[in-house]
Amino acid sequence: MVRNLLVALALASAGAPLAAAPLSVRVVDASGRPVRDAVVTLYPTGPAARPARPGGRFVISQQNLQFHPFLTIIPVGGDVSFPNFDPTKHHVYSFSAAKKFELKLFAKDQSRTVHFDRPGVVALGCNIHDQMSAFIVVTDSAWTARTNAQGMVMFGDAPNASGRIVVWHPYLRAPGGELQQALGPAQRSASFQVRLRPPPAMPMQDY
């Protein structure tokens, strides 16, 4: 009987593993058109939550006077290197609370690496070329993805638990630039309708 009690205690302390319950999220704009490259993050409540696996190396290059890629999702603890493939120098900077930094990158093949240790959105710019813009989403949840051309994200291994879903997009018109929805325990799909600003149009003439 003591052994049965010990087994029961061991099972209870290990916690019953939650079955995966795939979750799909759709993001559309004010006219119902799908929005791509919206970053969707799922935060399950309680013990079901899991941080993103820390670390990893990522690359954001400067080429043809633009950052590539425009949007990068990395976990907390990730490193991003910034190689410069342009014949001109770039002065990469960010004033975002998640990471403030500046990098002086001389032309052709010079690169520096920045470590991102706090979650949040990092907006990148170049002090010399005003039209350069990119974003890094540093996430602390294991379930973060960007929407595809149909505006859809599918979390195949989402836990069967309630939580909240956060949607962020660089041109999102909302306080803090993000929208949140609660996710009910049995809810396996969610939909967001967002209002977007027009993307930045023309670069100011440089002189």
Partner: protein
């Protein structure tokens, strides 16, 4: 040329030479940002053209013709060297650099010299505002048709009447500061400058009228004027130096220009510009070049129409005065204005542009009256195709203008001129 110009040159040349010598002796290092004579600090560009033109003799030859080339009535076809530019862009520290442009211009008259020489300053911005500055001999930020350190016309060979005038007569030595800020979804940029040595701007506009050409004025060079009547020739030189301080010394009476650019969250950009050289219209040099009190207001608009199409428009209205008052008006009192609209659209790898231009001057001076008035319009079609390091352009331009004092050289007051050009531009 006058002791004024020589003083200006000496004042600039010796300190610049000493600074350059000191920097050459300093070993550069990548981390300090010093970059002086590396290959990427240089740009070379040049063009050759085939020009077919009819109509009157060009102003470059001392006539009243508005184009860079001219004829004596019949159709003339000739190959020409256009403009060759050598740009040197040293970087002294990460935020301080310079741009120096030497240029050679061919055609009816060949000349070479310094086109621009200025320092650039761009420190790290703050979260809300970005600051940048320029100082030296440089183009004021008016033209929407020019781009690049060598200030070349982007979509055609010939710029509009407004930007042709900027390139020939609005040549200040300036100290300029710019602040850029984002206010919500709107972008704002404000520029202010103090300048000197542009006292004669307005001379060509009055005595020759508007023109359409890409023959910019090089530092300390002069531009010819058409024949002046005998009264005027008694007190006005037959040429003009656009880069000139008529008052003795340098910058005794600085002028100013100011610019405001607004970009709302739609693909349209609006620019406002004001210029006043505050020259003394009663001052004159020993070579009979006068101060011309010139001021103008300018509006610019760029709009993205989708599919890569772009609409551009500029409008300018100003006044210039020169000489002593006689009977209520100075010798020269010229109200000038011009406006153009252009449309550019890519068709595959070819960019097509079309432009219409209108211009006039209204002279109500006591010595220079309405026989100097210049009224006209022009229409242009151009096609451009880019390859690595090469650009090919074809341009058809027609200009029609009326000017009473053309009779002084035996021509009808109204003259029409058509020009077809094919150009190959090279750029490294």
């Amino acid at each position: 040329m006058g002791c004024v110009a020589r003083r200006l040159r000496n004042r600039g040349a010796i300190p610049l030479g000493c600074a350059l010598a000191a920097l050459w002796a300093t070993p550069g290092s990548a981390d300090s940002g010093l970059k002086l004579f590396t290959p990427d600090a240089f740009e070379l560009s040049g063009d050759v053209r085939l020009v077919a033109v009819d109509g009157e003799k060009s102003w470059v030859d001392g006539g009243f013709g508005k184009l860079r080339s001219g004829s004596n009535g019949d159709l003339r076809v000739q190959p020409q060297l256009g403009n060759v530019s050598l740009v040197w862009k040293p970087q002294f520290t990460w935020s301080l650099g310079a741009i120096v442009v030497g240029m050679a211009e061919g055609g009816q008259r060949t000349e070479a010299g310094l086109s621009q020489a200025y320092l650039t300053f761009r420190p790290m911005r703050s979260k809300k505002v970005a600051f940048s500055g320029r100082a030296g001999l440089m183009w004021p930020p008016v033209s929407l048709e020019h781009e690049g350190a060598d200030w070349h016309v982007k979509d055609s060979i010939t710029p509009s009447a407004i930007n042709s005038w900027i390139g020939e007569e609005v040549r200040p030595v300036a100290a300029e500061a710019t602040l850029s800020a984002n206010l919500g979804d709107h972008k704002l940029r404000a520029t202010g400058a103090l300048f000197a040595a542009n006292d004669t701007s307005g001379t060509l506009l009055t005595f020759r009228g508007w023109a359409l050409h890409d023959r910019t004025t090089l530092a300390f060079h002069h531009q010819p004027l058409p024949p002046l009547d005998s009264d005027l020739a008694g007190y006005q030189a037959p040429f003009t130096h656009p880069l000139l301080d008529v008052e003795p010394g340098f910058a005794r009476r600085p002028g100013y220009y100011a610019k405001l650019v607004w970009q709302p969250p739609v693909p349209v950009r609006i620019e406002l510009f004001r210029y006043d050289n505050r020259a003394n219209p009663e001052a004159v040099t020993s070579q009979l070049e006068w101060g011309w009190r010139t001021s103008f207001d300018h509006v610019g608009l760029v709009a993205d129409l989708g599919s890569g199409a772009q609409l551009r428009a500029q409008g300018l209205q100003g006044r210039t005065e020169m000489g002593f008052r006689e009977g209520g008006a100075r010798w020269v009192n010229n109200r000038f204005r011009s406006a153009y609209v252009s449309l550019t659209r890519p068709f595959g790898s070819v960019h097509l542009s079309a432009r219409v231009d209108a211009f006039d001057t209204r002279n109500r001076g006591s010595d220079v009256g309405d026989e100097y008035d210049d009224t006209g319009w022009s229409a242009m079609l151009a096609a451009r195709r880019e390859w690595p390091h090469f650009t090919g352009l074809i341009e058809l331009l027609h200009v029609s203008s009326r000017r009473e004092n053309r009779s002084d050289v035996g021509l009808d007051a109204r003259q029409n001129q058509t020009q077809l050009q094919a150009e190959v531009r090279m750029h490294w």
